[in-house]
């Protein structure tokens, strides 16, 4: 039972990242009709907002300490971050330690702007082109962004830890009489994504802006004829989708140290999530994200792997998502919650 509870939590956690990325993908597809293969790169850029802030905060004053030697036997250059200099060691170190939560504040405007620039600068020229062209250009963009990040930050993962208060794990199982400890930060990640997902839905449902966007998604032409500048709103939606992916990336950094190809790792699975959920369906994307996350976690359990190996299906953990995607698409060709008419013209 403990193991099952842990794998459900793992699944929800993985599902959170899938759902957040898939939500953005669906938003962009639903509003602009663009299949955005650069969305994984936006997730990665979000994570690198945290890395950059960490780098920025560790910019140091260098003093030479002749009493200590470096590896070449020269006097040691002691680095003291300016933040520690300015705020004193107590406050300064806490600020540095709280890098990841602070990065959220930085990431929102940064990612909104990146999304805005990306849409106005590149994507808008591809609205009337076939989906294949859009895929090629966004995929190319993703590779360019990846290589830029690698050139600046290197290829190895960069540790970006959570604040000290959230290191360690919490016995979730104890709440229901079991023994299952789960890392604090992963619980926070799940809660955070639940908040973001709810906020996006609330924004679309309860604001006038959201209502116009939804109307535009349903019938762009009519909304345009009513004198509403729907393109501008869709551009903003692109920015919001980029920010959602970016925030997912920022919060993900303490779970796995970010590296330049983390976006690609998530992109393919997120597309499967979107297709299983139903192209263009926001609730479908979220539902499928969590569902596939949980499935993936269970598939990596030894008992499950062993069972499938007996059925001559080794490494089920690697193929389960695709297997389920095939089954779902065969039985429900529009995905779990897909609507008629999307991608079917």
């Amino acid at each position: 039972m403990d193991a099952i509870l842990l794998q459900i939590l793992n699944g929800l956690d993985k599902g959170s990242a899938y759902a957040l990325i898939a939500l953005g993908l669906t938003l962009i597809f639903g509003t602009l009709g663009v299949v955005n293969f650069a969305h994984g790169a936006l997730f990665m850029l979000g994570a690198f907002c945290a890395v950059s802030l960490q780098k920025l905060m560790s910019v140091s004053k260098i003093t030479i300490d002749p009493s200590q030697l470096d590896f070449l036997g020269n006097p040691l250059k002691v680095k003291t971050p300016y933040i520690v200099e300015w705020f004193g060691p107590n406050v300064g170190n806490v600020i540095i330690d709280w890098n990841v939560p602070l990065s959220i504040i930085v990431a929102i405007p940064v990612m909104l702007s990146i999304g805005y620039i990306m849409e106005r600068g590149l994507i808008k020229h591809f609205y009337k082109r076939p989906h294949a062209d859009q895929i090629l250009v966004t995929f190319g963009l993703a590779i360019v962004i990846q290589e830029l990040v690698k050139a600046n930050y290197g290829a190895n993962p960069i540790p970006t830890p959570a604040p000290d208060q959230f290191v360690g794990s919490f016995n979730v199982g104890a709440l229901i009489g079991l023994d299952a400890s789960y890392p604090y930060w992963r619980l926070i990640y799940f809660a955070f994504s639940a908040v973001i997902i709810s906020a996006v839905f609330a924004f679309l449902r309860f604001t006038t802006f959201g209502m116009v966007v939804r109307a535009g998604m349903a019938d762009r032409e009519t909304v345009g004829l009513l004198g509403i500048n729907i393109d501008r709103r869709f551009t903003i939606m692109f920015g919001i989708a980029a920010a959602v992916a970016g925030l997912a990336g920022v919060m993900y950094t303490p779970i796995n140290s970010p590296n330049y190809h983390m976006g690609m790792d998530f992109l393919v699975l997120s597309f499967v999530v979107v297709v299983v959920g139903g192209m263009g369906s926001l609730p479908g994307a979220v539902l499928a994200g969590f569902l596939l996350g949980i499935l993936e976690s269970f598939a990596s359990m030894n008992e499950v792997k062993g069972f499938f190996e007996m059925l001559y299906l080794p490494s089920i953990d690697q193929i389960i998502i695709y297997l389920v995607a095939i089954i779902v698409l065969l039985t429900r060709p529009r995905g779990l919650m897909g609507k008629a008419g999307v991608m079917e013209e």
Binding site: F71, A155, P157, G168, N259
Partner: protein, 445 residues
């Protein structure tokens, strides 16, 4: 009237003569092997990951190669050439020819690595290929070099198979292997953690992971440990939580991570997040072991490596003269100490050059013969031997531990023990290395 003229005769005979001479030129002793250098220079091919997950290791390897070329051509302070026991290298290139190099990007993929090695051999005329940061890649390129008739000086490759079942006459490995890691680590683990331990292995699902896991399991079981489980994880895994979670209730009190690079950083981070290191199982503190350590990776894992045992081929903090000379050259040129990947590739380049000098030729068969059974010292690992039977270097192995109180960003590992060569040596026909044969050296052409 005949058009036969003296001028015509000379022309015709010159043409025929040139035609007849052509095959002789091609098969002349000058070109009795692939890419025999003809001008005043010789080209070496450095095949390292310049993109992909091991790109940072590849970058460090490339720095070391460039430094080696500089030293061979008489530049810089000479580095380990001053401490190397063989004095055949004079700082005037190799056999009087200036050393030049070309680089290729393996992308940490076997097919890309073979393609770039092939291009360096066929287009750039490389007479030797060296590099690699993954055993899958190294084995693939070693096979290609054997067919093409050039020497392959393996870089960072730790699978038993590289000098085991996949060994080749044209391939040589200075780096240590999984078996040696197991043999060096097991006694230290026994001394620190006791005989009665239950180990759970997470293993990268490819040649290196399999052979290392097999080696560590055998070595620890010989010390009385029990192996609870071995779970193979796909190389592309980034989130290891679903593999780590089952460890919690498996009854295991040690987790062995047969992972390298990004895999190691991520699996170790997950294990620490799940509180494994704070757990007490079977009345013992839960422990984590990372059999193959790399400083570059340890730095990526940050705080999480503190106190964790592993093994390494070399470390910059060693105090022998060879290490000091190399760290000084490398550190002065680049501003930070070299990694074990940089060390092994630098040493391999010097060893190759030295073998050419001693053999008096670049012919792979001559070079191979000079390397086989070659004993040397002064290269940072103490007395070392290139065993003739399998082209594996035998030397001491370092057992290291993540440092509790690092003094700098480079100071993440501390050397716990230098395990002597005798303890990590094995017979050529040891079951873990059995199958396959060196075969005959292939000079190509």
């Amino acid at each position: 009237m005949s058009k036969f003229t003296r001028r015509g005769l000379i022309k015709t005979s010159a043409t025929v003569g040139a035609g007849l001479a052509m095959p002789t030129f091609i098969t002349s002793p000058l070109a009795a092997y692939t890419n025999a250098p003809t001008g005043g220079s010789v080209t070496l091919g450095f095949n390292v990951p310049q993109s992909g997950p091991y790109a940072d290791e590849g970058a460090d390897e490339l720095r070391a190669y460039k430094l080696a070329v500089e030293h061979l051509n008489g530049g810089g302070d000479g580095g380990m050439m001053n401490t190397f026991s063989s004095k055949a290298l004079k700082g005037n290139g190799i056999l009087g020819k200036k050393v030049e190099y070309v680089t290729g990007d393996t992308q940490t993929k076997s097919d890309a690595a073979r393609a770039s090695a092939k291009s360096m051999i066929e287009k750039d005329g490389a007479v030797m290929i060296t590099g690699g940061s993954s055993s899958g890649v190294a084995i693939a390129v070693q096979g290609l070099c054997q067919e093409a008739g050039v020497i392959f000086m393996a870089g960072l490759t730790h699978s038993n198979d590289t000098t085991g079942k996949d060994k080749k006459a044209n391939g040589f490995r200075h780096f240590f292997n999984g078996y040696m890691s197991g043999a060096a680590l097991a006694p230290v683990l026994e001394a620190r953690y006791g005989k009665d331990r239950n180990a759970y292995h997470l293993t990268a699902d490819y040649t290196w992971g399999w052979t290392q896991q097999e080696s560590i399991q055998a070595a620890t079981e010989a010390k009385g440990w029990n192996t609870v489980n071995n779970v193979l994880t796909p190389l592309a895994t980034t989130d290891f939580s679903s593999y780590v979670a089952p460890v919690l209730n498996s009854g295991a009190d040690v987790l062995v991570l047969n992972h390298y690079g990004g895999n190691m950083i991520n699996s170790l981070t997950s294990a620490v997040q799940f509180g494994l290191r704070d757990k007490v199982v079977n009345n013992k503190n839960f422990e984590i072991v990372v059999p193959l350590y790399s400083r570059l990776m340890a730095r990526g894992a940050g705080e999480n490596v503190k106190g964790i045992f592993g093994s390494t081929n070399w470390h910059w903090s060693l105090s022998d003269e060879g290490t000091k000379a190399f760290v000084k050259s490398f550190g002065t040129k680049y501003g930070f100490p070299p990694s074990q990947a940089a060390h092994t590739t630098y040493v391999q380049t010097l060893l190759y050059a030295d073998a050419c000098e001693r053999a008096g030729t670049f012919n792979p068969c001559g070079v191979g013969e000079a390397l086989e059974g070659f004993k040397f010292d002064g290269m940072g690992n103490g007395p070392t031997e290139y065993r003739a039977e399998d082209h594996q270097c035998f030397k001491d192995v370092l057992v290291v531990k993540g440092k509790e109180n690092p003094t700098s960003e480079f100071d993440v590992l501390e050397v716990v023990e230098i395990t002597p060569r005798s303890q990590v040596e094995y017979a050529v026909d040891h079951p873990m290395f059995a199958g396959g044969a060196l075969g005959k050296c292939n000079p190509g052409a």
